[in-house]
């Protein structure tokens, strides 16, 4: 056979194979895969679209994904195809150097986002997020407006509850120790001062001397958020510690009864409603001396609107993960 005809046939075959494969893998989905918009899909306003474009322009999606998988239950509800109908172009992301942002809307007050974008390590020690202090005030408003919409149509899961094991233990021991009694709380204060105050501080503000050396700062018990803590929740946290942090498992060294004394004391700590400290979770206020921050009326915190769920703790939103995974 003629050599050229051979090449021609071979060439046609390559073309055909390749076109078929391209058709199957990109054009066929575009043709057949048209999910209906789900209840969770968000339609963006003009300002939010602008914020989304800033999110894309600054390359936020290189480090933040926007899809919750089956294996990350603590990040919220698993996403569905219909959630992405209005997400064009996509910002799924393929690498998570930072947290998944599918449900970040309402998790923090807007002022927190402002502070976090201008001086990330002031509000989140250890974070490696770049500072976006160069964004203009309008750009920042748009970006934060966009972030606050993410996941806003997803239902809020119920409050986290301690595992059954701890609830049972709590039920048994609380028959012997009445956590509501002030004498018990007084006894708990001694245990607190001996074991907890070096990190959590004498007044429970999370500013004990040891906290200076910690990247992840101890919890500030004076936040109004802790007013909502159940007694068995305190018990669980004390007993098991907080995975991934320096908070130890106290049931290794304290008896259940001692831990209940401690719970009795912790639940009496005053919850100050001072937005300067509580809503922003600023561990080191002194770091916020940046004139940029002051320019943006950082100290004038907006009142919490209904879409902002509480003081901004994982546990207020996600039912499964025990406040971890952030």
């Amino acid at each position: 056979m003629d050599q050229r005809l051979n090449y021609l046939i071979a060439g046609m075959f390559v073309l055909l194979t390749f076109i078929t494969i391209i058709f199957v893998t990109t054009l066929l989905p575009a043709w057949t895969f048209k999910p209906e918009a789900s209840a969770e899909a968000v339609v963006y306003t003009a300002l939010e679209t602008e914020g989304r474009n800033i999110y894309r322009r600054e390359g936020c999606f290189y480090c933040h994904s926007q899809f919750v998988r089956y294996q990350d239950p603590e990040m919220g509800e698993m996403v569905k195809a219909g959630d992405y109908v209005h997400e064009t172009p996509h910002v799924l992301g393929t690498e998570r150097t930072g947290p998944d942002l599918s449900n970040v809307g309402g998790k923090y007050p807007s002022a927190w986002h402002w502070a976090h974008h201008i001086k990330p390590r002031a509000v989140k020690p250890g974070s490696i997020m770049p500072s976006y202090s160069y964004l203009t005030e309008h750009e920042m408003t748009a970006l934060v407006a966009y972030l606050q919409t993410l996941g806003k149509n997803r239902k809020l899961p119920q409050w986290i509850v301690p595992p059954q094991e701890y609830r049972d233990r709590f039920a048994v021991i609380s028959e012997k120790v009445n956590v509501k009694a002030s004498a018990i709380a007084n006894a708990g204060r001694g245990i607190y001062m001996q074991n907890c105050a070096q990190c959590h501080g004498v007044a429970g503000r999370g500013n004990g001397p040891v906290s200076m050396s910690m990247m992840k700062k101890p919890a500030n018990f004076t936040r109004p958020y802790y007013a909502k803590y159940r007694d068995d929740m305190w018990f669980w946290r004390v007993a098991e510690g907080v995975p991934g942090s320096r908070m130890p498992r106290w049931d290794r060294s304290l008896s259940d009864e001692d831990m209940l004394y401690l719970v009795a004391y912790l639940r009496t700590l005053p919850r100050t409603d001072n937005p300067k400290v509580n809503d922003i979770e600023v561990s080191e206020m002194s770091q916020l001396d940046d004139p940029n921050v002051l320019d943006h009326n950082f100290w004038q915190i907006e009142s919490l609107n209904p879409t902002n769920h509480g003081g901004g703790d994982m546990e207020s939103r996600y039912a499964y993960g025990g406040g971890r995974g952030d």
């Binding site: 050599q3 390559v14 194979t17 390749f18 494969i21 199957v24 893998t25 990109t26 989905p29 575009a30 895969f33 999910p35 894309r56 322009r57 600054e58 390359g59 936020c60 999606f61 290189y62 994904s65 899809f67 089956y70 294996q71 603590e74 996403v79 569905k80 195809a81 959630d83 992405y84 109908v85 209005h86 997400e87 064009t88 172009p89 996509h90 910002v91 799924l92 393929t94 690498e95 998570r96 150097t97 930072g98 990330p120 989140k124 020690p125 250890g126 974070s127 490696i128 997020m129 770049p130 500072s131 976006y132 202090s133 160069y134 990247m215 992840k216 995975p243 991934g244 942090s245 952030d326």
Partner: protein
């Protein structure tokens, strides 16, 4: 003749092989800039407060600039430079079909890289990973690719040799496939909605590697190995089998990048299956590669281009074992979203494809300029700095990726495992310093060879051993 007119006539020259030389030396320039941008991005991940308040130098903009400069700038230009030498030689021509057109393409491509990366740094981006360039640049790139393709095809058709060696197949295949992938993947003339946008995005993200860098790189490697060793290619049947199976199995793999997202399951299944089947073309290539080395392993002691090619072959083996491994659902479940994948990308683009072009450059530059490479010692330093830089980077990123994956899976707070990753990020930055240093030596070596007034003429050396 003034310097300017001389430069002008060099740039728009119609001398045989001038386009090959010009493509290679401009590629090397973008290589140094591109790796420097990568080093900057690595440093920003390590010390995030190093640079503040300069939008052009924030991580989210440096990263796409790095990726586009090394893919569109360095590797693509290096590849085209190699093609423009290999194709005419294999079909028995002197120079490509139209050398002046090739040089004009080279100028267009350089402008594209410069303005494209400039626009990315200034925030003009389509924000699709690997396909960030804005529409005007896409059209210029497409025009450039079509010019490259026309020149390549016309070279082959106008050459006296009608029995084409396998490299010709691979190179012509790459020149045809990449523009097609580019049109669909970059969505030059049309838009897609929602998740379909992501599917097309990763079709491009994977196939710029699969249908361009892999196919072209193997073409170059199949040319170089018989030349370096003096052995004939081990098996033409295997090489052709590899060619067809690459075309079959590479194109649908893109969806394995979004394996746990809610895209159609059948698409994911096709992606995973064809990812695993990629082992077929890979094993044909590597069998051919290592069997062609038969009896000639001792050459590597003294033959610098061969050394680069061998390192590339081993890295290709590792890449293509790791790739199908992490593309399976089981493994991807754990490793997705971590720096492990970044390590994998560097293994493919740096240790495999860049090393192939390094090898080809040390061989082709003496052929096209008639000058012996300026310094063997610099080339050896380039080899070891690049190789060890890559190995250290690979290990650091892999370990960091495992820490990160564990962090996400065991729901450890993000700001805790980021601290654990920090030492590995420092090591990664140091390995980046080694790599950049190696590339600066490479640029100096090649530029000194090409531009210096004093030079040694390239000796007669069929295997190229005496060139370096």
């Amino acid at each position: 003749m003034s310097v300017l007119t001389r430069a002008f006539s060099e740039v728009f020259s119609d001398q045989p092989y001038s386009a090959s030389r010009n493509f290679l030396i401009s590629g090397i320039f973008w290589l140094v800039l591109g790796t420097t941008l990568g080093l900057l991005a690595a440093s920003l991940m390590t010390w995030p407060d190093m640079i503040r308040g300069i939008p052009q130098l924030s991580f989210g903009r440096v990263r796409p600039a790095h990726i586009n400069m090394v893919t569109i700038g360095w590797l693509s230009m290096g590849y085209i430079g190699c093609f423009y030498y290999i194709l005419p030689v294999l079909v028995g021509r002197k120079g490509v079909w139209n050398e002046r057109l090739a040089n004009i393409t080279m100028v267009i491509w350089n402008l594209l890289v410069f303005f494209g990366v400039w626009s990315l740094l200034n925030g003009y981006t389509e924000a699709r990973e690997y396909a960030e360039l804005e529409a005007p640049f896409d059209i210029v790139a497409l025009a450039g690719l079509i010019l490259v393709g026309i020149n390549g095809y016309m070279t082959v058709l106008s050459g006296p040799e009608k029995k084409w060696y396998v490299s010709v197949w691979y190179i012509l295949g790459a020149m045809f496939w990449f523009p097609v992938v580019y049109i669909i993947g970059q969505r030059v003339f049309f838009a897609m909605e929602g998740l379909n946008d992501a599917i097309a995005n990763w079709f491009y993200g994977h196939n710029i590697l699969g249908m361009w860098f892999t196919v072209g790189g193997i073409g170059i490697l199949y040319y170089l190995m018989p030349r370096f060793t003096g052995n004939p290619l081990y098996s033409h049947t295997l090489s052709m089998l590899g060619f067809w199976t690459i075309a079959m199995f590479y194109a649908p793999t893109g969806t394995h990048h979004i394996l746990q997202s809610p895209v159609p399951e059948w698409l994911k299944a096709i992606a995973v299956i064809s990812s695993v089947f990629l082992l077929v073309p890979v094993l044909t290539v590597l069998t051919n590669f290592f069997m062609t080395m038969k009896g000639k392993w001792s050459l590597a002691a003294d033959h610098i281009p061969l050394r680069f090619a061998l390192a590339a072959g081993v890295a290709y083996l590792l890449t293509c074992i790791q790739g199908p491994f992490q593309a399976t659902r089981f493994i991807n479940w754990y490793l997705h979203f971590s720096n492990w994948v970044v390590g994998h990308a560097h293994m493919a683009l740096l240790a495999t494809f860049s090393f192939i072009v390094f090898s080809a450059t040390y061989y082709i530059i003496p052929k096209v300029t008639g000058r012996k490479i300026y310094s063997k010692r610099l080339a050896v330093w380039h080899f070891w700095l690049s190789l060890y830089g890559w190995i250290i980077m690979m290990l650091a990123l892999t370990i960091a990726g495992l820490i990160q994956a564990a962090g996400w899976h065991f729901a450890i707070p993000y700001d805790q495992w980021v601290i654990e990753m920090h030492p590995y990020m420092i090591v990664r930055t140091l390995s980046g310093v080694m790599i950049v240093l190696g590339q600066i030596l490479f640029m100096f070596n090649i530029y000194h060879t090409v531009f210096s007034k004093e030079f040694e003429p390239a000796p007669h050396s069929p295997t190229g051993i005496a060139f370096v």
